[in-house]
């Protein structure tokens, strides 16, 4: 069962919230919408759910044009960032509510609620009211309600954003398993690149109402189509710099240059933008991180397992992220090492020319 957006756009007054978008979602694994707040994730989901009508274009589901089919008739479930439960109903009744509306028989309801509750570890809590639950349990209840009705399309809009860090980690691990043996299309919106990576599946990077790239999550992380997609899919923010290719060398400044290996030999001489992920700049050299650079240390963040060094080189601020503890004095000059084999090169139109 696949969901297809054909040239779908959404304008509200003079503002364009979603530019004409073509997208075919997969029904194996998660479809992740990755972008900052206001990049259009929620609007896209509302269009997919039928809660909003597109200004132009068509939405097809399972081979049928559903553009004008109301939400109630689409068999869609949605879970929001702010967990929504009926406060005056028990957890059981909350989970059962979509089945009651659909007129499912009583004993069938009990069976299905019990099964979902077990999956989400809500079994012992079924008699409680949502108010007597922790945040994580409340969001589990909302998830259970979305799962219980066997929807064809499940939309999860930043479902973990309001949870504690550790709970988020736990549910993020559980979620893909919950949907693994269901035949439904799952869409998951997040602002966090690390979350997109760990959930796997496919990812669409969003920026200002436009999908900049869509593909297998790991692949688009390692092959961003353009500079914008690389920026959207990078946490900490990707380092960028203007470089010049002349003959068989790239140079970033008078002091910093590196050979254009065989992969890059075919590129025309001239200016490029290079994108360097923070974990490809390291405090000590290794087999591939060998290009020394020098900068003034601005801030260091040592978390116990990793070191994040913010430093100034030229007029720009750079970030290095490495495993282990590497202490630097603030204000001091530091030497770090770049891994040129992992650079992204973008051309004048900001599209990827080599990686």
């Amino acid at each position: 069962m696949s969901l297809e957006l054909k040239s779908v756009s959404k304008r509200v007054g003079a503002e364009t919230h979603i530019h004409a978008t073509d997208l075919t979602l997969k029904d194996d694994g998660f479809n992740i919408l990755l972008g900052t707040t206001l990049s259009g994730k929620t609007t896209l989901m509302q269009l997919m759910a039928g809660l909003e009508r597109p200004t132009s274009g068509e939405i097809w589901f399972d081979g049928k044009n559903v553009t004008r089919v109301p939400t109630q008739k689409r068999n869609v479930s949605m879970v929001h960032q702010q967990f929504i439960n009926y406060p005056n109903l028990s957890v059981f009744e909350n989970i059962a509510s979509p089945l009651k509306v659909a007129g499912v028989a009583r004993d069938e309801i009990a069976k299905r609620v019990d099964r979902v509750a077990e999956l989400l570890k809500l079994g012992p809590l079924l008699k409680r009211r949502p108010g007597a639950l922790s945040g994580g349990q409340q969001q589990r209840t909302a998830l259970a309600r979305a799962l219980v009705k066997d929807a064809d399309l499940i939309l999860l809009d930043e479902p973990l954003a309001n949870l504690d860090f550790k709970l988020r980690e736990e549910l993020r691990d559980e979620l893909p398993r919950l949907f693994a043996d269901r035949s439904c299309t799952v869409v998951y919106a997040t602002t966090e690149p690390s979350e997109a990576l760990l959930l796997g599946g496919h990812t669409a990077t969003l920026h200002e109402g436009r999908i900049t790239q869509f593909g297998e999550t790991g692949k688009i992380y390692r092959h961003p189509a353009d500079l914008l997609s690389a920026k959207v899919f990078s946490d900490p923010p990707i380092n960028t710099a203007e470089v010049v290719k002349a003959g068989d060398r790239f140079s970033l400044s008078q002091e910093v240059s590196w050979p254009a290996g065989p992969k890059l030999a075919g590129l025309a001489d001239g200016p490029y933008t290079v994108g360097i992920r923070p974990h490809h700049i390291l405090p000590s050299p290794n087999d591939t991180a060998r290009i020394p650079i020098r900068g003034k240390v601005l801030v260091t963040e040592l978390s116990g397992s990793e070191s994040v060094i913010h430093f100034a080189m030229g007029k720009a601020t750079w970030v290095s992220q490495s495993h282990g503890i590497h202490a630097f004095e603030i204000g001091a000059e530091a030497e770090l090492f770049m891994d040129a084999e992992r650079f992204f090169y973008f051309g004048a139109d900001e599209s990827l020319v080599a990686a």
Partner: protein, 355 residues
């Protein structure tokens, strides 16, 4: 500015507390020196907000005392304590300009206009707020407003302590990086005592020189990020800090050597002695587990791509063991053997580290 001492603090929201569960804070003794950067870290409901409210004077503790320097402030109201506080959601007057918002805490205390101007401009410069200084705050984005909230917290130079209560929760990840490092930089420049309350280990560990980890109303460990990472004194700290957290495996001792699933696991230091009848566990972080030619036999269950490393889930005699494998390194497919770094493998008795 002064040292902050929390002495034998206990707090209950119940009028006549009887058993342990009645105490929101069971026992807290902490000494924070002047000018330090500290974090209170723990899950929802661990008592960190209760503790924060006791320091700020919004709550009077059931037992114990709070000292600012040698002054006992336990019964002083918040306005006499001379502290600044930044909350989870921006506290900004929309109708005022950015300048007036920043000036508000100073004018409120009758600071002369010339001093107000100097301090506001200094803070605005540090936070890069100079450009829109005379524009109304209403038009700003969430992070822009939160920057003003931070500025309002930082603008007074005479406060005893600045407290931050989950200040970056509502901020998108890429801006979180900026604000977090900005805050760190500001601590370096301003030199005030700062206490940062959060459930997010990354924020706590990167901001603070010393972190207080709380769990169910008690302080389980106080230490530097490196100490908490490398020598977690309690399995809770091992689990809560780190992503994924420490592997905790049931074990037995034979001749002072811990055994997991019938296999010996050598430690860095000599034979281990455990109290009779104690529940024994072995703790080792995913960062200190590697694939090896010889060692503990495991099955590889799942590999998640986290970008700069893969998180590999394995099973060792029915227990889950996670490890990190760096980007670009090869992975075994099914059966494999693991080695634990002896210097970073701990033994716990009833949750507490004994070796």
């Amino acid at each position: 500015m002064s040292e902050i001492v929390l002495k034998d603090l206990r707090h209950s929201y119940v009028p006549a507390p009887k058993d342990d569960a009645d105490w929101a804070l069971k026992q807290v003794d902490v000494r924070w020196s002047d000018g330090g950067a500290y974090a209170l870290l723990g899950p929802s409901g661990c008592g960190k907000t209760t503790l924060l409210n006791i320091i700020s004077g919004l709550l009077t503790p059931t037992e114990g005392q709070v000292f600012f320097g040698t002054r006992d402030v336990t019964h002083e109201p918040p306005e006499q304590r001379n502290i600044a506080q930044v909350f989870q959601f921006p506290v900004v007057y929309d109708t005022m300009t950015v300048y007036d918002n920043l000036a508000f805490p100073l004018r409120n205390r009758g600071v002369p206009a010339a001093d107000v101007d100097a301090q506001v401009r200094q803070i605005a410069e540090m936070l890069d707020l100079e450009d829109g200084l005379f524009k109304r705050a209403a038009g700003l984005t969430a992070d822009g407003k939160q920057k003003i909230s931070l500025g309002r917290g930082l603008v007074r130079s005479d406060v005893n302590v600045i407290m931050f209560d989950e200040p970056l929760t509502v901020i998108d990840p890429h801006l979180k990086w900026q604000l977090r490092s900005k805050l760190k930089e500001l601590h370096h420049e301003v030199g005030s005592t700062m206490i940062y309350v959060t459930h997010d280990q990354t924020e706590a560990l990167t901001f603070a020189d010393q972190v207080v980890v709380m769990y169910e109303g008690t302080v389980v460990q106080i230490g530097t990020p490196v100490e908490l990472f490398e020598r977690p004194k309690h399995t809770f700290v091992g689990h809560f800090i780190g992503s994924p957290g420490m592997n905790v495996l049931p074990c037995q001792l034979e001749g002072g050597v811990p055994q997991v699933g019938g296999q010996p696991v050598p430690l860095g230091n000599g034979p281990v002695e455990a109290p009779a009848g104690a529940r024994l566990e072995l703790g080792v972080r995913p960062e200190f587990v590697t694939f090896a030619d010889e060692g503990l036999p495991v099955q590889v269950v799942k590999v998640s791509d986290a970008g700069r490393h893969s998180i590999v889930e394995t099973r060792l005699a029915g227990n889950r063991v996670m490890l990190l494998v760096r980007e670009g390194e090869s992975l075994p497919s099914e059966s494999a053997r693991l080695s634990f770094d002896p210097a970073h493998t701990q033994v716990y008795a009833d949750g507490w580290m004994i070796a």
